[in-house]
C-alpha cells in the first residue's frame, strides 16, 4: 500500500498566504458597462454661444459582488444602492453557508469518523481482504499532516464580521461602504479558494494513497464530486461558466460510471445523453432564471422555459448521436428535419405566450419557423465544425462538441428570447400605429431590460459582448505552432497568446518580427521570454546569441554595444531587485530557472535544487554578477562546499531570457483606428498592459488555455502541461511587449520585417514598413488610413513643428474646412516635395511598387522562386536587400519582374536594377523572361522628358560605373559626350498577367498552369483586390539623352539592362491613384518648372 504521498507531506504544503486586495484579479461582471472608462464614450453636449453652461461627464464606479466588477454610473448607483446592498447581503449569507458546509465536508476528510468512513466501510465490508487496508488507510489519513481546520473557522469569523458590516451599511449606503463590502467578500472567497486548494491537495493525496482499495476509491470519488459541485459557489463563477462547469462535471460522472461498467462507446454516449436529459434542463433553467432575474414575462414562466430547454437538449442529444453514429453519411436534410419539427413546435409555444394568439396561428408559425431555421443552421454548423475539429485534432467528437455544448444551448436560448423580443419591438419602428402592436411592443421593450442583463448589455450603451458573434477561434494545431515559429520566429509560448489576444480583442497587432534568436531557444524549456522589469539587451553575436547578456567593452554582444552598455547600466538595479543574476558568461538568469532545468536533467535534480537555494540566498545578500571576480570570491567564502557545484551547474544549465517582442502598431479591426498603446516615448513601458487590460478585459481573454495536446513538445514541460502555464503564471500578452509603439509610427521609412496577427487568427509577414503599409491597406480595405490619420476618433495628428504642413494646412483659409481627401493630397504632396528639395525626383513609395507586382498576380513567395532556380531564398533575399529592389515571379515561374525605385537619382535607380540582375544572373535558369521596371517621379511626367538629371559629366552612380556599364551600355563612356539626362519616348510593354481563370467545372482536370492561375486569382482576391485583369501593361520607354559637347546635338538610344528594355512607371499600377491624379499645386510648394533638357 502506498501511503507515502500522504504521510510524507509536510505541514507547510498546506499553508497559504491570505490574499491582499491588490492581488484580486476580478473579472467583468454581467451587469453594468462593459469597459472601464472615466467618461462615457459617446457623450454629447448641447450648447450655445454667448451663454454660460456646464458639462459634467459621467464616470463609472466599481461595484463588486460575487467577485466580479460591475461598472455603473454614479447616478445609477444612487438609484440602485439598495439593490446592491441586498445582493451583498445575500452573497454574505451564501458565503457563510458555503464556508460552513465546506468545513463540515473537510472535517469528514480530516478526521474520517463520519459518513465517508462508514460509506467506505460499508462498501468494502464484503471484501474481507480489503478490510485491513481500509483500516490502515483511515489511520494514515488521521495521522497525516493536513490543512488546519481552524482556517475554516477564521473564514467563518471573517464572513460574520462582513455580515455585521453589511447590516450596519443598511443605514449608510455610500459607495465606499458598498465597494468595501464587495472587496472583503471577494477576498474571503479568494482565501477560501486557496484553502480549498490545500484541502484538495490533501484529498488527492489521500485518494492516491488508497489506490488499492478500489471500492473505497469509487465511493471516495462519489464524495469528491459532492465537493466539486461546490466549486462554482466557492469560486464565484458567473452563471454561464457555472453551466459549463456543471455540465462538464455531469459528463465526468457519466464517464466514470460507464467506464466502470466497461460499456461500448455508443452505450457510453447513450448513458451520457440520459444524464444530460435528466440533469441539464432544470439546472440550465435555474441558471437562466438567475440571469434573467425573474424578468421573464409572466406568461412564459419557468415551466415553459423548462419545456423549451428540454426540447432543445433532447434535440441536441439526438443530433449528437446521429452525427456520431452515421458520420459522413449524415445529410443536412436529416438534421433539419430532426430539428425543425421539434424546434418549430416549441418556438410556436413560446411565441404564442409572448405575443398572444395560438401556436397554430399562421403568423406565429412563420416567425417560429424563421427562428428555428436560424437555430438549426447554427447547430448544423456547430456540429460539423466539431466533427471536423475532432478529426483534424485526433480527438473524440464528443470531446469537442461538449466543450461548446453549454454555449450552444445558451446561444439557442438567447436566440429565441432576444430574437422574438427584438423582432416584436421593431414593430414600433415600422408599424407605430398598428392596432394593438404598439402597446405590446412597448411591453416587450420593457421586457428587453431582461435581455440586456442577459447579454451583459446595458440599455443604450455599446457592448462588445452583444456584437455579432464571430466564429470561435480554435486552438492552434501543432503544424500552426511550427509555422508561426518558422515564419515569424515566434516562440510557441508567445504565438498562441498573441493569436488569442488578437482574436478576442478584435485587433490587428503588428510587431517587429524578432530575429530568429527568439526561436533559437524554443526547444529549451528552462528559458523564458524577457520579463517587463528586464530592460537589458539580448546578444546578437557570440556564444550567447539570442539571450539577454551583460555587455562589456571587452566582450561586445551586439553591433550597438555602446547603447547596450548604457541600457545595462540602467537595468542593473531592476535586475538585482527582481532576484535575477548574471552567469559567468554574462547570461542573465533567475535562480528559479534552475528548478525547471532540473526537470530535464533529472539525474541531478537535487544538485539543481541546492544550487538554486545557494544562489537565492547569495542574491539576497546583494550579489548578482558572477562575471565579477570579486563576486565569485564572495561565493567561495560564503559557500565553500557548494561553489564548484554551483559553477558547474550554472555552466551546464540551459537557462536565460530570450528577447521581448517589439510592438509596431495596433489597429482596431472594426474601425481601422490606431489603438493607443503608449505615448510614443520610451517612458511609457508596458502602457499596453494597462490600457489594453482596461479596454479589452484582457485577463479574461488571454486566460483561455490552448489545448495542451496541440502544443509542440518543446512548449510542454516534462509533466505534459504547457511549460509556461497559460493562466496565472503566464506572461500575459501585454508583457510580451516591453513598451509601446515607440516612434515607429512617425517613421514610416525605417524598420525591418513586420509581422501582423489578425482577429481571425491569420498572420502576415511583411518585409519592411512600406510593404506593411501596403499590406494593411489591402487587409483593412476602406478602413485603412495613412499613418498620420489613424488616431482614434479621427483626430488628426498634429505636430508642433512649423515645418509640418498639417498645422498650416488645417489652419489655412480662416475656418475653411479641409476635407480628408484634400488634406491627404496636400500632405502627400508636401511629403514628396519636401523630400525632393534638390529637384532630382522622388521615388514612388515602395509599397506602391509592391502593390503593382502583387496586383498582377506576381508572387514574392520563396516557394515559387524555388521553382525557377536552385538557389536559396536567403540568397535572393540578400540580393534584394542589398540593392533595395524587388523581384517577383509569376506562378508558372516563367516571368520574373525586377523592379526598383529611384531613391537617389534616375541613374542610380537604373544601376540598382542592373546590379540586381547581375547578381541574380547566377541564380536563374536561362528560359526565364526577365522584365525591368523602374518606378519614377511622383509627378506625372510628360512623354518626352524626365525632370531628373544626372548632373555634370558624372552619371551620378555612386560606385564605379564599370560594374554596371556592361549591363547598361548607356553608362559606357563615349568620347566627346557626357551623359546628361534621361528621356522618355513612347510606350513599351512590361509583364502583363494572363487573364483570370474561370471557376473550374472539373477541378481535377485543371492543368498545373491553370491551377496556379486560379490560386493567384484567389490570393489577390483574398486581399480585397480585383483579380488581375489589366489587359496590356505598358510602361514608358526609357531613352538616354546624350549631350554632345561640341555640337550640342542630342542623341538618343534606348536604355536596356542585359539586353532587356526598361519600362518606367510614374506610380504603382492603380495602387495609389493620388500619384497619378493631376494635382493642384499649392503656392507654398510651387517651384520653377524646368525645361526638358537644360544645357549647361
Amino acid at each position: 500500500m502506498a501511503h507515502n504521498s500522504l504521510l510524507n507531506a509536510k505541514p507547510k504544503d498546506y499553508v497559504f498566504e491570505p490574499a491582499q486586495a491588490e492581488q484580486l484579479r476580478l473579472e467583468q461582471g454581467a451587469y453594468g458597462e462593459r469597459f472601464r472608462s472615466p467618461v462615457a464614450p459617446q457623450q454629447q453636449a448641447l450648447v450655445s454661444t454667448a451663454i454660460e453652461q456646464v458639462c459634467r461627464p459621467t464616470i463609472l464606479l466599481e461595484i463588486v459582488f460575487y467577485s466580479k466588477i460591475h461598472l455603473v454610473q454614479p447616478d445609477e448607483f444612487v438609484l440602485k444602492a439598495k439593490d446592491y446592498h441586498k445582493i451583498l447581503r445575500e452573497e454574505t449569507l451564501l458565503l457563510y453557508n458555503d464556508v460552513k458546509d465546506n468545513r463540515k465536508i473537510y472535517q469528514e476528510w480530516a478526521d474520517p469518523d463520519g459518513f465517508i468512513e462508514s460509506a467506505v466501510a460499508n462498501s468494502t465490508a464484503a471484501f474481507a481482504a480489503t478490510t485491513d487496508a481500509v483500516v490502515g488507510f483511515f489511520k494514515a489519513v488521521k495521522r497525516a499532516p493536513k490543512p488546519d481546520i481552524e482556517e475554516f473557522d477564521k473564514l467563518i469569523d471573517r464572513v460574520s464580521k462582513v455580515a455585521y458590516d453589511v447590516n450596519a451599511a443598511a443605514g449608510a449606503l455610500t459607495y465606499e461602504n458598498i465597494h468595501e463590502i464587495g472587496i472583503q467578500l471577494a477576498l474571503i472567497r479568494e482565501d477560501s479558494r486557496r484553502l480549498y486548494k490545500a484541502v484538495d491537495l490533501f484529498r488527492n493525496r489521500a485518494i492516491d494513497s488508497a489506490e488499492t482499495i478500489t471500492k473505497g476509491l469509487e465511493t471516495a470519488e462519489g464524495a469528491s464530486f459532492q465537493v466539486l459541485a461546490l466549486v462554482p459557489t466557492l469560486t464565484g463563477m458567473d452563471p454561464l461558466r457555472e453551466a459549463a462547469y456543471r455540465i462538464s462535471l455531469i459528463v465526468l460522472r457519466a464517464g466514470g460510471r460507464s467506464a466502470g461498467a466497461a460499456l461500448a462507446q455508443t452505450s457510453i454516449i447513450r448513458e451520457l445523453c440520459g444524464v444530460l436529459k435528466a440533469d441539464v434542463p432544470p439546472m440550465l433553467v435555474e441558471v437562466i432564471s438567475s440571469v434573467l432575474r425573474g424578468a421573464i414575462p409572466k406568461g412564459a414562466g419557468k415551466e415553459l422555459l423548462i419545456f423549451i430547454v428540454k426540447q432543445q437538449v433532447e434535440f441536441l442529444c439526438d443530433l449528437a448521436l446521429m452525427v456520431n453514429e452515421r458520420g459522413t453519411n449524415l445529410k443536412e436534410d436529416d438534421i433539419k428535419q430532426l430539428g425543425m419539427n421539434r424546434l418549430t413546435s416549441c418556438l410556436s409555444e413560446l411565441i404564442s405566450k409572448l405575443l398572444g394568439g395560438r401556436p397554430s396561428d399562421t403568423g406565429v408559425q412563420r416567425l417560429a419557423k424563421s427562428l428555428a431555421e436560424n437555430t438549426i443552421n447554427t447547430l448544423w454548423r456547430d456540429a460539423l465544425t466539431a466533427r471536423e475539429t475532432a478529426k483534424t485534432q485526433g480527438r473524440e467528437f464528443w470531446d469537442v462538441f461538449l466543450a461548446e455544448f453549454p454555449w450552444t444551448i445558451v446561444k439557442i436560448i438567447q436566440g429565441t428570447f432576444v430574437g422574438v423580443l427584438q423582432r416584436n419591438a421593431s414593430r414600433i419602428a415600422f408599424e407605430p400605429h398598428s392596432e394593438d402592436g404598439q402597446q405590446k411592443s412597448l411591453d416587450i421593450l420593457k421586457a428587453q431590460k431582461a435581455t440586456s442583463i442577459f447579454s451583459g448589455k446595458r440599455l443604450t450603451q455599446p457592448n462588445a459582448s452583444t456584437a455579432p458573434k464571430r466564429a470561435p477561434l480554435g486552438p492552434m494545431s501543432l503544424n500552426e505552432y511550427r509555422q508561426w515559429q518558422q515564419e515569424l520566429f515566434l516562440h510557441p509560448d508567445i504565438a498562441g497568446q498573441l493569436r488569442r489576444y488578437a482574436h478576442d480583442s478584435e485587433q490587428y497587432v503588428a510587431f517587429r518580427v524578432p530575429s530568429n534568436a527568439m526561436a533559437l531557444h524554443a526547444s529549451e524549456f528552462s528559458k523564458r521570454p524577457k520579463p517587463l522589469w528586464l530592460k537589458a539587451k539580448s546578444a546578437t553575436m557570440g556564444e550567447t546569441e539570442g539571450l539577454v547578456t551583460k555587455p562589456t567593452t571587452a566582450r561586445p554582444i551586439r553591433q550597438d554595444n555602446e547603447a547596450a552598455v548604457a541600457t545595462w547600466e540602467k537595468s542593473v538595479e531592476s535586475i538585482k531587485k527582481n532576484g535575477a543574476m548574471v552567469r559567468e558568461d554574462g547570461v542573465v538568469f533567475h535562480p528559479d530557472m534552475l528548478r525547471d532545468a532540473a526537470k530535464v536533467d533529472t539525474a541531478n535534480t537535487k544538485n539543481y535544487e541546492r544550487v538554486a537555494q545557494v544562489l537565492t540566498e547569495f542574491q539576497a545578500k546583494g550579489h548578482f554578477d558572477l562575471t565579477d571576480p570579486g563576486t565569485v570570491r564572495a561565493l567561495y567564502e560564503a559557500y565553500p562546499h557548494d561553489t564548484d557545484l554551483t559553477r558547474f551547474i550554472l555552466q551546464k544549465a540551459r537557462i536565460g531570457y530570450y528577447p521581448d517582442l517589439d510592438l509596431a502598431e495596433v489597429f482596431d479591426a472594426n474601425t481601422g483606428d490606431r489603438i493607443p498603446v503608449g505615448a510614443g516615448n520610451e517612458k511609457d513601458p508596458a502602457e499596453l498592459a494597462y490600457l489594453q487590460r482596461n479596454r479589452s478585459n484582457l485577463d479574461q481573454a488571454v486566460n483561455i488555455n490552448d489545448d495542451v495536446r496541440n502544443l509542440p513538445p518543446e512548449a510542454r514541460g516534462p509533466d505534459g502541461k504547457p511549460r509556461v502555464s497559460l493562466d496565472n503564471k503566464s506572461p500575459h500578452v501585454q508583457s510580451l511587449f516591453q513598451h509601446g509603439a515607440d516612434n515607429e509610427y512617425y517613421k514610416p521609412g525605417e524598420g525591418g520585417p513586420i509581422g501582423v496577427v489578425g482577429p481571425d487568427g491569420r498572420k502576415w509577414y511583411f518585409q519592411n514598413r512600406d510593404s506593411f503599409e501596403a499590406g494593411m491597406r489591402t487587409i483593412l480595405g476602406q478602413k485603412y488610413r495613412d499613418p498620420g490619420q489613424r488616431n482614434v476618433r479621427g483626430i488628426l495628428m498634429t505636430k508642433n513643428s512649423k515645418d509640418d504642413p498639417t498645422t498650416g494646412a488645417m489652419a489655412k483659409g480662416s475656418g475653411e474646412r479641409i476635407d480628408t481627401a484634400k488634406f491627404n493630397r496636400i500632405r502627400w504632396y508636401y511629403e514628396r516635395t519636401r523630400q525632393d528639395t534638390p529637384g532630382l525626383g522622388v521615388p514612388v513609395p515602395p509599397h506602391d511598387i509592391w502593390m503593382s507586382l502583387f496586383q498582377r498576380g506576381l508572387s514574392l513567395e520563396p516557394a515559387v522562386f524555388a521553382l525557377a532556380h536552385g538557389g536559396r531564398w536567403s540568397d535572393l533575399h540578400a540580393i534584394l536587400q542589398k540593392h533595395g529592389t524587388f523581384a517577383a515571379i509569376d506562378l508558372d515561374a516563367k516571368n520574373l519582374v525586377i523592379a526598383g525605385a529611384t531613391p537617389e537619382s534616375f541613374a542610380n535607380g537604373l544601376a540598382r536594377l542592373a546590379r540586381t540582375a547581375i547578381d541574380l544572373g547566377a541564380l536563374f535558369v536561362p528560359n526565364l523572361t526577365v522584365w525591368f521596371e523602374l518606378y519614377s517621379s511622383y509627378k506625372p511626367v510628360t512623354s518626352d522628358y524626365i525632370l531628373n538629371r544626372i548632373g555634370g559629366p558624372d552619371p551620378g552612380v555612386s560606385s564605379a560605373v564599370a560594374d554596371v556599364s556592361s549591363a547598361i551600355p548607356v553608362f559606357q563612356p563615349k568620347p566627346g559626350h557626357k551623359l546628361y539626362a534621361f528621356a522618355l519616348d513612347g510606350f513599351h510593354p512590361s509583364y502583363t498577367p494572363p487573364p483570370p481563370t474561370p471557376a473550374p467545372s472539373r477541378p481535377d482536370q485543371l492543368s498545373p498552369a491553370d491551377r496556379n492561375r486560379l490560386y493567384r486569382d484567389q490570393t489577390v482576391g483574398s486581399f480585397g483586390l480585383q483579380p488581375p485583369n489589366f489587359g496590356k501593361v505598358e510602361g514608358q520607354k526609357l531613352l538616354a539623352a546624350w549631350d554632345h559637347l561640341t555640337t550640342r546635338k542630342l542623341t538618343f538610344e534606348e536604355v536596356k539592362i542585359l539586353g532587356r528594355p526598361v519600362a518606367i512607371f510614374t506610380a504603382g499600377l492603380a495602387a495609389c491613384p493620388a500619384n497619378i491624379e493631376p494635382m493642384e499645386i499649392p503656392n507654398l510648394f510651387d517651384r520653377e518648372e524646368r525645361p526638358a533638357l537644360l544645357v549647361s
Partner: protein, 216 residues
C-alpha cells in the same frame, strides 16, 4: 447673403439669432432688439436659446455711407464676430476641472489650451459654428464630448430639460421632448442630488434648480 427685404424666419433646430443675423448681414442685437421681436424676447430668455418653430423677424439690411479720405488705410470692425463660447467642466463631485488641458476641434481645426482655474473653457468661435468636439485631460480622460451648437432649447421645454440633464451627465436618452424611463431616472437622480423631495416630477422648482446648476 444680405437681404434687401424684411422677412419672418421660422427657427429650425440648431439655429440661433447670432447665426441668422450673421447670415443676414446684421449685428445680432439689431435683429433681437427689433420692436417686431418684442414678443419673442418676452418668451425666450436668451437670443441664442430659441425653440424650433419660433418666428424671428429679420429686418432688411440697411445701407450706410461713410466718408473716408482716399490714399489712406481704414479699419472697419464687424460687431459680434467672433462670438464667445463659455463651457464649464465639472467632475462628478461637481468640482471644476481646474486648469485641465484640452483639445478643441472646430471645423476641422484643432486647438489646444487649458481650462481656467474654475474649469471654464472661454474661447472665441465663429458665430455660425455648428459642431465640434472637445477632449479634456490626456486622451479625453477627464471629459470628451461632441459639441452641438445651437441645439440647446429653452429650459421651459422638455427638450431643454433633457438637454441640460444630458450635459450634466444624468441622462443619455433621446432629446425628443417625450417623457421616458430614462428621463424619469435622470429626474429622480437630479432631485436626489439637489435635496428635492423624492420623485421624478419636473416642476418649477426643478426648473429653477436645473437652471442654477446648468447656469443657463
Amino acid at each position: 447673403m444680405a437681404h434687401t427685404e424684411d422677412r419672418h424666419h421660422e427657427v429650425a433646430q440648431g439655429e440661433t439669432t447670432v447665426q441668422l443675423a450673421l447670415e443676414a448681414g446684421h449685428y445680432w442685437s439689431t435683429v433681437w432688439q427689433h420692436s417686431n421681436n418684442a414678443q419673442l424676447r418676452q418668451l425666450r430668455k436668451h437670443h441664442n436659446v430659441l425653440l424650433p418653430g419660433d418666428v424671428l423677424f429679420i429686418p432688411a439690411i440697411r445701407r450706410r455711407e461713410v466718408s473716408k479720405a482716399t490714399d489712406a488705410t481704414h479699419k472697419f470692425v464687424r460687431k459680434g464676430v467672433p462670438e464667445k463660447f463659455n463651457l464649464q467642466f465639472l467632475d462628478y463631485d461637481n468640482k471644476p476641472l481646474a486648469n485641465a488641458a484640452y483639445v478643441l476641434i472646430l471645423d476641422g481645426s484643432a486647438s489646444t489650451g487649458n481650462l481656467d482655474a474654475d474649469g471654464w473653457l472661454r474661447v472665441f468661435v465663429r458665430p455660425d459654428i455648428r459642431s465640434g468636439r472637445i477632449e479634456v485631460g490626456p486622451h479625453g480622460s477627464l471629459a470628451a464630448c461632441d459639441l452641438n451648437f445651437g441645439h440647446l432649447d429653452p429650459l421651459s421645454t422638455l427638450t431643454g430639460v433633457q438637454a441640460r440633464l444630458r450635459n450634466l451627465g444624468l441622462y443619455d436618452g433621446p432629446i425628443d421632448g417625450e417623457t421616458n424611463d430614462l428621463l424619469k431616472e435622470a429626474a429622480r437622480a437630479f432631485r436626489l442630488a439637489e435635496g428635492l423631495p423624492e420623485g421624478d416630477e419636473i416642476n418649477d422648482e426643478f426648473h429653477q434648480r436645473l437652471e442654477n446648476k446648468h447656469r443657463s
